[in-house]
């Protein structure tokens, strides 16, 4: 059988659990109080009855039956807590201050019985009493008892009060549990709505935050942060997808146009079709290059640097400087390199070479003739290996620096230059796959009509065991 939905709610279940615990504890306490009080009252009553019996039997022993009878009459008239019944040897009642003498009482044993009494209003009440029957030496029987109804009444009032309290606690507890359960459910339903909406594909929903600082708020905040990141990465995937489509479309469109022109030229007998095919091939190669880079970035991001080896990055840096220096000089740039010795790193050498090539190539490409490009490779005081390329080109505005590291982002003033917009993204992917990072800073500032320039730094951790 399925429980009603309320009973399946955690807060309500907890409430019930605590109530059950409370009732069990209270019952145990009550039982103890009851038993302790009852036995205490009984013991006190028995003791006082015993004292009375002793006093009366002493009178009987010293002064005889009539003196006892007289004492009983006096005591009955004077009033007192005791109940007396004196029977003669034949079993006939001589003196008694109670009407309903218990039958068949056994001598020398405590007797518990109900005494019929009338109160001030004339109502008949049965009151709990105890008594002891004593055989006297002349064959008479003296029964002395005490009304313990007051103790009984007290105990029963106590019990009633406790039961009442328990019922109140139960009612308040269940009510409180319901209220808490509703409130928690209300806060949870906010979260549940968000989760349900996300399942439907809506990433814009956010959990309500009540600023109460409780666990549910924390959970909601965590959920919201997660959704922010998810939304951002979805957006960047979408953006990359759009950008790939866009970047692949323009060379494809160009290629198509060139092939079409070539076909027309060939039809017209102008036989320059071979040239056009060559250009179309170049366009196809560009496309493939873009594909390759996108794929390489995806692999680096998914699987880190493949086939890592420990090698001296100083050698790599020297080779790169030597490889690019003529290109820089041909463009009329002052190209210089400053490379420290012994820069051991662990990584994939071809990818790191590619990353350095991209940075140096960018600097040469975007720095106008007459400018300078400086390539440095050094060990930072932190032990990290830093490759930096500083140029005197137009630089990248502060607000765009984060952006140019993303895929396919090309700043407006660079659109005329060839390139896929993937160069720095690949550098970032290579850096991150090696546990490093890319830093963009302003270059040396305005310089001979140029500037402010750009400083791109690829920072990598040193190979383990070579930092010191």
């Amino acid at each position: 059988m399925k429980l009603p939905s309320l009973f399946r709610r955690t807060p309500f279940r907890l409430t019930l659990l605590f109530l059950a615990l409370f009732v069990a504890t209270a019952s145990a306490v009550l039982a103890y109080v009851y038993v302790a009080s009852a036995s205490e009252a009984r013991a006190r009553a028995e003791a006082s009855v015993k004292v009375e019996v002793d006093a009366l039997t002493a009178i009987y022993r010293t002064r005889g039956k009539d003196a006892l009878n007289q004492a009983l009459v006096e005591r009955a008239i004077r009033g007192g807590p005791y109940l007396y019944v004196l029977k003669d040897a034949a079993g006939k009642i001589v003196t008694a201050n109670i009407t309903d003498v218990p039958d068949g009482v056994s001598t020398g044993e405590w007797e518990t019985f109900r005494l019929t009494d009338t109160d001030e209003d004339g109502r008949v009440r049965k009151r709990q009493s105890i008594g002891l029957d004593t055989a006297l030496s002349g064959g008479e029987h003296l029964f002395v008892g005490e009304d313990v109804g007051d103790v009984e009444a007290y105990l029963s009032r106590l019990t009633q009060a406790l039961w009442g309290a328990m019922i109140m606690v139960l009612i308040l507890g269940i009510g409180g549990g319901l209220v808490i359960s509703r409130r928690v459910e209300k806060s949870m339903s906010g979260l549940n709505r968000v989760v349900a909406a996300v399942q439907e594909g809506d990433l814009k929903v956010r959990a309500p935050i009540r600023n109460s600082g409780d666990e549910l708020d924390e959970l909601g905040q965590g959920l919201n942060t997660m959704l922010d990141r998810l939304e951002a990465s979805m957006a960047s995937i979408r953006h990359a997808g759009d950008a790939i489509a866009h970047d692949l479309r323009s060379p494809l469109t160009r290629m198509r146009a060139k092939l079409e022109v070539a076909l027309m030229d060939a039809d017209a007998g102008k036989v320059s079709g071979v040239d056009a095919l060559g250009v179309a091939l170049d366009e196809a190669d560009l496309l493939l290059k873009t594909f390759n880079t996108v794929l390489a970035i995806a692999r680096l991001q998914a699987g880190g640097a493949p086939d890592p080896k420990v090698f001296d990055a100083a050698e790599l840096a020297t080779d790169m400087a030597e490889l690019y220096e003529p290109s820089g000089e041909d463009k009329g740039l002052e190209f210089s390199a400053e490379i420290e010795k012994g820069l051991m790193i662990e990584g994939n050498q071809p990818f790191l070479a590619q990353a350095l090539a991209n940075i140096i190539d960018n600097a040469i490409k975007y720095t106008p003739s007459g400018g300078a490009v400086k390539f440095r490779a050094r060990r930072r005081s932190s032990g990290e290996i830093e490759f930096s390329v500083t140029d005197t080109g137009p630089g990248v505005p502060d607000e765009d620096r984060e952006r140019v590291l993303q895929r396919f982002v090309r700043l407006d003033n660079s659109r005329t230059e060839p390139g896929s917009g993937l160069g720095l993204s690949l550098v970032t992917a290579v850096a991150e796959a090696h546990g490093g990072r890319v830093q963009l800073d302003e270059g040396p500032g305005a310089y001979g009509g140029q500037g402010p320039g750009l400083r791109v730094a690829l920072v990598l951790p040193p190979a383990s065991g070579t930092a010191g």
Partner: protein, 223 residues
């Protein structure tokens, strides 16, 4: 020269067979590694061109088996786009060179011819001669005719590679891989700048240019 093409993709194989045949080579095609292995055992080939991914016996398996059998015929390994680790695997298996698909045909032919040539000139040479250009590998000197040419170390290596492959087209990628020993895309034609510096040293002032640009392929040093 005789070339064995081991490739399971029919279209790629047809293009390769046709292109290599038109370049004047005798080409045999095997459809997978197992057939390739059988064919190689007939002997008489100058170069094997082996695709990496094939049914039955793949490229790595075939090359390993060929090498275990003592066959030292040069192997050019082909593999699909962007497999970064494949070059290492291929070279470890015993391949001599490596080309990533899709490739320019000029690149394939240049590499196949370079592999075959390397085999021909197996002996140790101390002097390389191409036309009136002479390189002394021990003294590290270069002369064209009576004129001594002063070269930077890298220019010397570059010229040495071109002289060893004189009469053949060598691509920019080949130069970057064999002379600089790097495998990456330099973005701009950095190699062209190095070639033009070398050219200005060995051809400037002489009536005949030896270092020629081959359109769509790369460069060729002609006697």
């Amino acid at each position: 020269m005789r070339i064995l093409v081991v490739e399971d993709d029919a279209e790629a194989a047809t293009a390769m067979v046709r292109g290599l045949s038109e370049a004047g080579h005798e080409v045999t095609h095997a459809v997978d590694g197992a057939f390739g292995l059988l064919e190689s055992q007939k002997g008489g080939y100058d170069v094997y061109v082996v695709d990496r991914m094939m049914p039955r016996l793949d490229g790595v398996g075939m090359v390993e088996t060929v090498r275990k059998g003592g066959d030292q015929t040069p192997v050019l390994f082909l593999s699909a786009l962007g497999e970064v680790e494949d070059r290492v695997t291929g070279l470890k298996a015993g391949a001599d060179d490596y080309l990533v698909k899709p490739y320019a045909f000029a690149e394939l032919i240049a590499r196949v011819e370079a592999l075959a040539r390397r085999r021909e000139t197996g002996g140790v040479q101390t002097v390389l001669k191409v036309g009136d250009l002479e390189m002394n590998l021990i003294g590290r000197t270069v002369h064209r005719g009576a004129t001594e040419i002063d070269l930077q170390p890298r220019e010397f290596q570059l010229l040495e590679f071109l002289m060893r492959h004189a009469g053949q087209s060598v691509t920019r990628t080949m130069l970057l891989e064999k002379v600089w020993e790097y495998h990456f895309d330099p973005q701009t034609n950095v190699i062209d700048v190095h070639i033009s510096r070398l050219r200005s040293k060995i051809d400037k002032g002489f009536d005949r240019a030896m270092l020629q640009t081959v359109r769509g392929a790369g460069y060729r040093l002609e006697a």
